[in-house]
Amino acid sequence: MQKAEVYSKLTTVFQDVFDEDDLALTPQTTADDVDGWDSLSHIRLVLAVSKAFGVKFSASEIGNLKNVGEFADLIEKKA
């Protein structure tokens, strides 16, 4: 899957999970930049991403994600 395609699809998932239609993602976006992205909604986000891209994440992958860039790289590798 192309990176642009990953970001486009990922943005839709983020907008849906955090209920914010004008949410824009960059590789540097972290949990601090998105209101409501906390340890609980992170799990909801991971579930939504798994479903949208048809991929699975391991315990340490889920726990170690630092920013959107890492998330997108991981999806690109798996999808």
Partner: protein, 478 residues
């Protein structure tokens, strides 16, 4: 081997020297493996005492090997159950007295942390995160690394393996100095601050546990003081221990993970747990909280339920963490109190976001009054919840709570919260406003930094002589 014994120092000197004799990875791995064996042997009076530990390691290795062959969920589940049953039996939990016990005394130190390392390897092998085959000797060096044997930090195998005997840390004069300085700081915390707090704690705490006629106000004040002293003791004892092992780790080419990141600067209870005993809380987050929450959210996908599922997951996670800390019913109370703290914090965040909106809530949390109130409340809650650790027997615990009553507990909570909040405010104000210009200029100098180190050593000697003996490492018991 006690951390403050001359024997430990001699042991360390020998290990560090032996490690640097040759750069051969095989040789260094041999040195580290032998060091682990000698360290464990120092706790034994008789060779039979180590057999249960060896059996536990063997079972762990067997489960890991089985998972390499068959990465199925069933194999993982069976392995986890086998490891947990063996652990619960060996730790002699008071709830399972009916299970019986081994008919001889044996070593239980280290088991609690070996458990986490084995479970982490099993989960990661099953998920494909860990593909490297672990040999039996590497397994021993990882699970029984003498630096982390007694009480962590809990490393990941992947990080350990990258450094195993390889001198991953480049040692130059500055790095070696920093390592020794960190070790000395650790001893200052351990031998001076923690020991003094423990001295005062031991002196004052009998007043609370004996039925004597203290007035209500005095009872509140004594309880608040004793609980705070225990927290100071626990923090400096544990974080001092971590400074010492992380410093030694540098000298042995290893970068061990940090376990504390200024926990008392936390502005919420949830943030506190990101700063306190970090490798433990991270382990629980990765391997229990996240998978549990994922399981719950898969079954109940409505976003409206998120915070309630979070509360349930907090209670279960902290409950398990509480039971892991000790073998009596009071540790279940400890876990539930921590779970309640995290849940209240989460529900408060959710309620505030709904009431004020995300932006206004964020602005509110950055106001001075909010910050110091939140810091005071966070620390007070933690300080009082820690009572479970110093009154671990249920009859004494209920007697203490009954004596204090609801008013006594709330009173002590208010005292700690207000005193800590105000003290933190003053301290931060002084630190930002008061700058001594000359201090920064001379701080980096060769003489000053060595003088600083020598001063620490002198203070350690003076206080150790005064107090006669340093307390043991508190977390060894958990």
């Amino acid at each position: 081997m006690s951390l403050t014994s001359p024997l430990f120092f001699a042991f360390l000197a020998a290990v560090v020297t032996a490690f640097h004799i040759s750069e051969s990875v095989i040789y260094r791995r041999f040195v580290l493996g032998a060091a682990n064996a000698i360290f464990i042997a120092s706790y034994l009076n008789d060779v039979t005492q180590v057999l249960p530990l060896l059996a536990f390691l063997a079972l762990g290795y067997l489960c890991v090997s089985a998972l390499y062959l068959r990465q199925s969920a069933l194999a993982l589940a069976l392995g986890v159950v086998a490891i947990l049953c063996c652990y619960v039996f060996l730790k002699r939990f008071s709830f399972f007295e009916g299970l019986g016990q081994l008919p001889f005394p044996y070593l239980t130190i280290g088991l609690s942390y070996i458990l986490f390392r084995i479970l982490h390897i099993m989960v990661d092998v099953r998920s494909g995160d860990l593909t490297e085959r672990i040999g039996p000797l590497a397994f021993f060096r990882f699970t029984c690394n003498f630096l982390c044997f007694v009480s962590g930090p809990i490393q990941r195998y992947q990080d350990f393996s990258a450094m195993d005997g390889k001198a991953a840390v480049q040692l130059d004069a500055a790095a070696v100095y920093a390592a020794f300085s960190r070790i000395a700081t650790g001893y200052v915390k351990f031998v001076i601050i923690a020991a003094t707090a423990n001295y005062a704690f031991t002196f004052l705490s009998p007043q609370l546990l004996q039925p004597a006629g203290l007035s209500f106000l005095k009872l509140c004040a004594v309880y608040a003081t004793v609980a705070s002293l225990y927290t100071v003791y626990l923090y400096f004892n544990f974080s001092g221990y971590m400074d010492i092992v992380i410093g030694i780790g540098t000298l042995l080419g290893q970068t061990l993970p940090e376990n504390f990141d200024k926990p008392f600067s936390a502005r919420s209870f949830l943030e506190f747990w990101q700063r306190w005993h970090m490798t433990l809380s991270q382990w629980f987050k990765f391997y229990l909280f996240n998978p549990l929450l994922m399981f719950l959210m898969t079954w109940l996908p409505s976003p409206a339920l998120t915070s309630y599922l979070g509360v349930l997951a907090f209670f279960i996670t902290f409950g398990v963490m509480g039971v892991w800390h000790g073998t009596t019913a009071v540790f279940v109370i400890y876990g539930l109190l921590m779970g309640a703290g995290a849940s209240i914090n989460k529900l408060w965040q959710v309620a505030c976001t709904e009431r004020f909106g995300k932006k206004r809530y964020r602005a509110l949390t950055e106001s001075t009054a909010y910050i110091y109130s939140a810091r005071g409340l966070t620390v007070a809650y933690f300080v009082l919840a820690l009572t479970c650790l110093w009154v671990p027997e249920l009859p004494q615990f209920t007697a203490l709570v009954a004596r204090l009553g609801f008013a006594g507990v709330v009173g002590a909570f208010a005292v700690v919260a207000v005193v800590f909040g105000i003290a933190a405010l003053i301290l931060d104000f002084v630190q930002t406003r008061l700058r001594i210009p000359t201090l920064a200029a001379i701080q980096g100098g060769e003489i000053t930094r060595n003088l600083n180190l020598a001063g620490k050593m002198m203070a350690i000697v003076a206080v150790a002589t005064l107090l006669h003996k340093a307390p043991d490492f508190v977390y060894k018991a958990f």
